[in-house]
Assembly symmetry: C2
Homo-oligomer: 130 residues x 2
């Protein structure tokens, strides 16, 4: 069983890697057989290569993540966090309000990522936030 | 498939009922066969009477819930929210940082509640917040 601190560190590192533009660092957090449902209700990516294709679509993207409050843990190998994701794809800039739930294995690798956001949680990035 | 608005209304109503001290209103949001894992990693309450026993332990409790940001929806019948829960059991007052994930049925009743919080997410309620 992972400690609360370890679980929270994994989720914090997921944010830090995105904010550093460290895509390989993001992927290294996942177990080989991990799944990612991002957002919930769409096709589940199974395995690290499918997750790579899902999270890193190949086009240039810049992502900035800001936590909306502390990362939460649980009494199991799961943790969750609410955050604001600002992303730029070339000219387009969006703000998405997300809640990620992560299930970890006993080594602290991510086994399952479930991202909660929908059309109603997306807005154009405010001009003064660019 | 529920609209984003309906999903968010159900979760908002869950909060409102708690804040109004309307325990029966809280229970009325659940489907008869619903499950509640609160927090994740503890025994799952199955069915409305088990949920009643879990969420309403019989001792006097006062609960105040404040959202930490907007309720998130998904592309499925699921929604999530991060909040701060202040609760009083007699002399004891605690603050818990929670993320709830709710799966709904096609009528908008709660089929599954998963509450994400652990020991590390609890603190004594600050004295100036009583």
């Amino acid at each position: 069983m992972l400690t609360d601190q370890v679980k929270k560190q994994v989720l914090q590192r997921y944010i830090d890697c995105w904010n550093d533009g460290d895509a390989e660092g993001v992927l290294a957090l996942f177990a080989d057989e991990a799944t990612a449902e991002d957002p919930v209700g769409t096709e589940v990516a199974v395995g690290i290569e499918a997750i790579r294709a899902k999270l890193l679509p190949g086009k240039e993207q810049v992502i900035r993540i800001t936590l909306d409050g502390p990362i939460r843990t649980t009494y199991g190998n799961r943790a969750a966090m609410a955050f604001t994701l600002d992303c730029w794809f070339g000219e387009e800039a969006k703000r998405i309000k997300v809640i990620d739930v992560m299930t970890l294995d006993d080594e602290g690798k991510i086994l399952a990522l479930e991202a909660h956001w929908g059309d109603d949680d997306i807005e154009p990035l405010p001009a003064d936030q660019h």
